[in-house]
Structures are given as structure tokens and as C-alpha cells.
């Protein structure tokens, strides 16, 4: 009966996923990090500004390329006073969403500093996406999309303009980041097969002639 299926689904929902990626959203205060996360995780938005205390996170499972990826997404406070706490969480993060506000020049100018933070505190194969948020506020825009793109190119990262309010590109950014990390994963396993086989190679006991050209074999 359906009840037992539900039980399975329950068990499954808790731990049944293929990969766990830890992501971090950083950027100056009030650029929209918390809103961005709420939009993605709960599909909600509020225009009231509630400053994030230190850190917070949400968990969401996504399906990408037949894989279930559990995302633990960390939201950080932009203010300096929380810096010690927030940077402690950089090290486990596989991906960063570095956010500025297109209506706030200072937040854009700080991007370079945030990059430095990442480079100082994170694991060095962490992936980064640059995001210019609040693109719904076209009238108040002070940072052009071109400048954003240019900076991203210079940093060697991908770039999106988003709106947490209007739900523009929010999902795209997360999915893209997951994809980039997945690519990185395959790449690192392909380029470092030594990790897999350890000392096994070279110690092989037999030399088996290769017979994988048999066309009759269809098992």
C-alpha cells in the first residue's frame, strides 16, 4: 500500500543523495544574499531588510544529470564584525556565489577584496560565480552589465545578473555552480587516477591478453 512507499521516500529524502556540495554566498551587506537564498530555497521574498547574524544555512536537494545533489548553502553576514566567524566556513566550501548590488558602486568595488578573502581562506579548487543582484532596479543601476562581465572575465569566473525579487537567474546560478563543481569533480578524478588505484598498479600478478574486441560479446 502507499504507506510503505511513503516510508521509503521518507528514509530516502533524509540521506539519499549522491553528492553533497557546500556552497557559500558572500558579498557586502545588503546586496541581497539572504534574499537570494530564500528565493532559491523557499521561493519567497520579502522587501524588509533583516540583517543576517553571522551565518546561516539552508539545505536543498537538486537533481542534475541523473544525480541527486544535496546542497548546504551558507549565507554569511557581510559586515566586518562577523568576519572571523564567516571566514571559518570558507574552507569547507566547494563553491562560492560572490554577490554585489548593481545599484551600489561600493559593493562592486569590494568584489576584489572578497576574491582575496576566498583565496586566503578557501580550499584552492573551490569554484566561484560572480553575481550582480537587483537587476530589476534598472532605474537605480550604477554598475553596467558590461563592467560586471569584464570583471568576471578578469577574475576568470562566470557572471550572471540576477534578481532575488523578480526571481531572475536565481536557479540558473545555483545550477550552473553545481555543474561547474561536477565538471571539476570528473576532471580531478580523470587527471588523478593515482588516487583511485593507489599502489595497485605495477603490482599486477598476471598479464592478461586483451580480448575486448570480441564482437560476439553482448553481455
Amino acid at each position: 500500500m502507499g504507506g510503505s512507499d511513503i516510508k521509503w521516500q521518507k528514509d530516502a529524502a533524509d540521506q539519499n543523495f549522491d553528492y553533497m556540495f557546500k556552497l557559500l554566498i558572500i558579498g557586502n551587506s545588503s546586496v541581497g544574499k539572504t534574499s537570494f537564498l530564500f528565493r532559491y530555497a523557499d521561493d519567497s521574498f520579502t522587501s524588509a531588510f533583516v540583517s543576517t547574524v553571522g551565518i546561516d544555512f539552508k539545505v536543498k536537494t537538486v537533481f542534475r544529470h541523473d544525480k541527486r545533489v544535496k546542497l548546504q548553502i551558507w549565507d554569511t553576514a557581510g559586515q566586518e564584525r562577523y568576519r572571523t566567524i564567516t571566514t571559518a566556513y570558507y574552507r569547507g566550501a566547494m563553491g562560492f556565489i560572490l554577490m554585489y548590488d548593481i545599484t551600489n558602486e561600493e559593493s562592486f568595488n569590494s568584489v576584489q577584496d572578497w576574491v582575496t578573502q576566498i583565496k586566503t581562506y578557501s580550499w584552492d579548487n573551490a569554484q566561484v560565480i560572480l553575481v550582480g543582484n537587483k537587476c530589476d532596479m534598472e532605474e537605480e543601476r550604477v554598475v553596467s552589465a558590461e563592467r560586471g562581465k569584464q570583471l568576471a572575465d578578469q577574475l576568470g569566473v562566470e557572471f550572471y545578473e540576477t534578481s532575488a525579487k523578480e526571481n531572475i537567474n536565481v536557479k540558473t546560478v545555483f545550477e550552473r555552480l553545481v555543474d561547474i563543481i561536477c565538471d571539476k569533480m570528473s576532471e580531478s578524478l580523470d587527471s588523478e587516477p593515482a588516487m583511485l588505484a593507489g599502489g595497485a598498479r605495477g603490482q599486477r600478478l598476471t598479464e592478461q591478453p586483451q580480448s575486448n574486441t570480441n564482437p560476439n560479446c553482448n553481455c
Binding site: Y19, M94, M195, T206
Partner: protein, 562 residues
């Protein structure tokens, strides 16, 4: 985190200045010093850290299970020997020549290797096979995150609560050397997850790195297998005999833990609404993404800390059976989940409809006012079917809005993201061959089968038959010993005609082979004309597009249907 380390190759002069400033607790944006954190702030942060610890512990257990599974596989492998399979010991046969694993270079029979996807890397260009052991090892690297941290993150083995961390071991170091030479200057701090820090001390010390600890203390346990074997299956590490002490281990931990609620957990209290709400149908003002709409009412009572969710009705649901109708029910859950219990309730099922009237009120207890601000209600609609309930759509609402007064909402359902089956499942390929005039069923593999033997594994095989079948053909796969994620890739033929197919059903039953007693039932699946949802679609695709291979995962159900 180590500011003293000179050898960070990324830090350019400006950055050094910057990290100095960071160390001094002054920012680039402000020169004045900031006030210390208040008690409330500290509390809030500590609460988040605690929540994170739970997540990390769950993760450590998951990694532990992956490690244990690989370890089990390694133990049951026959070991390398001339002209025989590394895993099952089978010798070379005419139609099944042995393959060479491109990673460990051992030989394995066709059933114990997988074909590798085409790779960019030149290393793999010569052979296209990988033995199941290497494949599983690779999976473990991916699934545990070890590929990223360059060593296994901390984990907790299922049966005995043993934690192993690798940060300071020889192995971790050698792996880091072998894996990525650009890690110098960073190997000093733990490779696993720094996200598992204890609540940091918030006093203004120069650095709180030292106060960081992992959630689970790594008490030493005597492992009878060395660490290298977990990370790679070296020839030297392979156990050559099947007589292992594995069954001495208690398997309680390996058993699927049913998500029974804790004392705090919530029982469903259902109450039929006395008279159905006779509201005039309002025009649909919300965008409907094609998955229909759902009307609900939320009422919070702070006196009893309970949230009453009335599921009124749904409209325009997608059809799931042959006639285009469904048997919908709703599953409600408060998210994010806290701890191990899950706060889920379900409505009753309304049969044979696309426009169900549920009119049912479900109560969640133990919901605080701060929960309302932070949590949301997820409603997922399923099609009730004994062979697995398919998701038809879902919606999530923030609980914020019902804090003050009850609200009624009409929600657009969005498409099922969770249609990929989870839990015990099988990958099945169907192909109607017009040449052979037969349905070709390939049992590719299964995943997460329930353990039925005292060693924490099962020895699965599959029986399959078509119903009705004038030829009364019954098939069976081989037995995969001690394997909860068996790979069969075995093909079976059922003579039939396409017109017949649209009246037939294919039944698969999964069994755990036991000697001396009846086989244990593991799960079943029925695909065919009378099935629903994704199972029906798979079947119809196979009929509509003959001579094509249609491959799909399906959940197994634990009811035995014969």
C-alpha cells in the same frame, strides 16, 4: 586560516596586507573598531552551528556507509588470480572473455566490469573497462567529497560508532602529495570539513582556529583493514578468502532506520470538515505551470503551538493512468527539517480524479512562533499506487504570513523535481525487437536494496515474468553475492506482439538468496498496461518506439504482489 604561513602561492603583496588587516579585525571598508558580539548574537550563531553539526553528523554517517559498502565489496572479492575474475572468480569463457581494468590492471569477467564513458584523458584511451571495485572506489571518491578535500572527510561507520579522520595520517599526506601539489601551505588545517566547527568562542582572540574541533571525537578503534584499502583497492590489500569476519559485526546500524518519530514527533490527527466548503470557484489568477493548482488554509494557534493546515482541493492535476485520471494525496512537511525526526503528514487519497476535494485538516504540533518566521510548508502531491507513488507536483509556502491571522491560499503546483526514484530501485531497459518478435528486458542494476542477511548484505537475484503470457516463460537473473547495489546487465526475451504488449504486465520480484530457508523478499515492480505514472510511460514508450532501448530507473515497492 593560517596567516603565518608564508607559502600561499595566491597571496600577492596587497593581499598580505589585507590578511594582516583581517587578522587585526579591521576591515577594508571601515577603520573604526566594531563592538563585540552581543549575547543574543552569540546565541543565534551557536544555534546555527549546532544545526550544522547535525548536518555534518548525518553526512559523516552517510560517508561511513559508503566506506562500509566498499569495504564489504572488497572483502567478498575473490582477489586477483591468473585467468580469472578479480571479483567473482569466474574463469575465462569463449563468449565471455576477461577484461582488463584500466585502473588496477586486474582481470575481471564481463559481468564484473563496466564500460567507461569516453574520456578526455589520455590515460584511459587504451582500455575502456573499469572493474566494479575500481568503479565503486571512484564513486566513493565522488560521493564522499574526497575528490575535493583530497582525502576522506571524517566518517562514522554504520555498525560501530567509529570515526576516522585522515588529516594527520601518512595517507592523507601522501595523497595530498600525489593528488595536488598546489596544496602546500594549506595542508596544515584539517582537510575534511571545517564546517563542523564547534561554536567558536566569540571573544576577540587573534584567531579561533585552535578552538575548532570536529563534532565526533576520533576515538581509536581497531580496524582490521588498513586505510589504504579503503581509498584504493590495492592488490596487496585484497582479501583472498571469502571467510571473513564480517558477519561478526553487528548489522543493526546497517539496517534501514525507519523514520519513526521521537516523542516530540507529530502524529497525524485528521478531522473531516463537517460540511464541505461551498465557496464559489474563484477565477484562477495565479499562473498555472501545467501541473494544476492547490487550495489550502493555514491557521496558527500560539496557545497550543500548533499549525492547522486545511487542504481544500486541487484542480487540473496531471493524469497518471491509462484513462488520464489519478489517485492523488498530499504529503505535507515543515521545512527545514530539524534533527532526525521528520515532520510529515499526509492526507487521505481521493480516487480517480484530476480535481480532488480533500477538505481535510492536518495538525502540526510543536511549532513555535520563531519557526513560523524561519520555516515553510512543503506540499507534494502524489499519485497513490501500490507500485510506487509518483510525484505529480508540489508547492512550498512560507509560514511567515499565517503568524497573525489565518490565511487561505491558492498555489500553482510546480512540476515534480523529485521524480527520480530514491531508495531501493532498479535500472531497467525495455526494447521491443521487431526482428526477434520479442520484448527484450535488460535488468541493468539495482541500488540500495535492503539488507536481509545478518552480515548486513543481501544476495540478490531477480525473477521476472510477463502476465498474461501464453508461453508461461519465467526468467531469473544470476545471484549477486553480498551486494546491495548489484550490477547484472542481463537480458531476457519474452515472445509477444506489440498489440499484446498493451494488455500485458511485466512483474519483477527481487529476492535474497538463502540456503536452508525460504528466500527473503526484497521488493517488486510491475510495469505494464495497468501500471501508472512513470512506469506506464516507460511501457508505452517501449510499445510506441520499437527497436529502441528504453532505459529507466524505477523504485521498488516492498509489497509482494503475485
Amino acid at each position: 586560516m593560517n596567516y603565518q604561513s608564508k607559502a600561499n602561492k595566491y597571496v600577492c603583496p596587497n593581499d598580505r596586507q589585507l590578511s594582516l588587516r583581517a587578522k587585526l579585525r579591521t576591515g577594508w571598508s571601515t577603520a573604526r573598531s566594531e563592538p563585540p558580539l552581543t549575547a543574543t548574537e552569540r546565541e543565534a550563531i551557536a544555534a546555527v552551528v549546532k544545526r550544522a553539526e547535525k548536518v555534518d553528523e548525518v553526512e559523516a554517517r552517510r560517508v561511513g556507509r559508503i566506506v562500509a559498502r566498499l569495504e564489504g565489496m572488497r572483502r567478498s572479492a575473490q582477489g586477483p588470480a591468473p585467468r580469472s575474475c578479480l571479483l567473482c572468480g569466474e574463469t575465462s569463457r569463449l563468449l565471455a572473455p576477461l577484461r582488463t581494468c584500466s585502473i588496477c590492471r586486474n582481470t575481471a569477467c564481463p559481468k564484473c566490469v563496466i564500460e567507461m564513458p569516453p574520456h578526455r584523458s589520455p590515460i584511459y584511451s587504451r582500455e575502456q573497462y573499469m572493474c566494479n571495485l575500481c568503479a565503486e572506489t571512484r564513486e566513493m571518491w565522488k560521493k564522499s567529497g574526497a575528490w575535493f578535500y583530497k582525502s576522506l572527510p571524517k566518517y562514522i561507520l554504520p555498525e560501530r560508532k567509529a570515526t576516522r579522520r585522515y588529516n594527520d595520517t601518512e595517507l592523507a599526506r601522501s595523497l595530498q602529495d600525489a593528488g595536488n601539489s598546489s596544496n602546500e601551505g594549506k595542508t596544515d588545517s584539517e582537510p575534511g570539513s571545517p564546517l563542523s566547527v564547534h561554536a567558536p568562542t566569540f571573544s576577540r582572540q587573534p584567531s579561533n582556529t585552535d578552538s575548532r574541533k570536529s563534532i565526533v571525537s576520533s576515538h581509536d578503534t581497531h580496524h582490521d583493514w588498513n586505510e589504504t584499502d579503503i581509498l584504493s583497492h590495492g592488490v596487496s590489500g585484497l582479501s583472498l578468502h571469502r571467510t571473513e569476519s564480517l558477519n561478526q559485526r553487528s548489522v543493526a546500524g546497517l539496517k534501514r532506520t525507519g523514520s519513526k518519530g521521537s516523542a516530540y514527533s507529530i502524529r497525524s490527527i485528521r478531522k473531516e470538515i463537517s460540511k464541505p466548503l461551498t465557496q464559489p470557484e474563484r477565477p484562477t489568477t495565479i499562473p498555472d505551470a501545467g501541473f494544476g493548482t492547490l487550495e489550502i488554509k493555514l491557521a496558527y494557534d500560539n496557545g497550543t503551538s500548533s499549525l492547522a493546515v486545511t487542504v481544500l482541493r486541487a484542480r487540473g492535476l496531471i493524469g497518471m493512468d491509462m484513462t488520464g485520471l489519478s489517485d492523488p494525496f498530499c504529503r505535507l512537511e515543515i521545512l527545514p527539517r530539524e534533527g532526525t525526526y521528520s515532520n510529515r503528514l499526509r492526507t487521505k487519497t481521493v480516487h480517480k480524479t484530476k480535481n480532488p476535494e480533500f477538505n481535510e485538516t492536518l495538525h502540526f504540533f510543536g511549532i513555535t512562533e520563531s519557526d513560523l518566521a524561519a520555516k515553510s510548508l512543503e506540499i507534494v502531491l502524489f499519485d497513490d499506487d501500490r507500485y510506487g507513488c509518483d510525484e505529480m507536483g508540489s508547492a512550498t509556502v512560507s509560514l511567515r504570513d499565517c503568524a497573525k491571522s489565518p490565511i487561505q491560499l491558492r498555489l500553482a503546483l510546480s512540476g515534480a523535481t523529485g521524480t527520480e526514484p530514491t531508495g531501493p530501485r532498479v535500472l531497467l531497459a525495455l526494447c521491443y525487437s521487431t526482428k526477434k518478435r520479442a520484448l527484450v528486458v535488460t535488468i541493468c542494476r539495482a541500488a540500495e536494496l535492503p539488507p536481509r542477511d545478518s552480515n548486513g548484505y543481501s544476495d540478490p537475484f531477480v525473477k521476472l515474468h510477463l502476465d498474461p503470457d501464453p508461453y508461461h516463460k519465467k526468467h531469473k537473473t544470476s545471484i549477486k553475492w553480498r551486494n546491495l547495489n548489484p550490477i547484472w546487465n542481463e537480458e531476457f526475451l519474452f515472445e509477444t506482439r506489440p498489440t499484446e504488449l498493451s494488455r500485458q504486465n511485466l512483474t519483477l520480484t527481487f529476492w535474497d538468496k538463502d540456503y536452508g530457508k525460504p528466500n527473503d523478499f526484497l521488493g517488486s515492480l510491475v510495469l505494464g498496461a495497468s501500471s501508472k505514472g512513470r512506469r506506464l510511460k516507460h511501457w508505452m514508450d517501449c510499445i510506441k518506439f520499437p527497436d529502441h532501448r528504453h532505459e529507466q530507473w524505477h523504485s521498488l515497492t516492498d509489497t509482494q504482489h503475485l
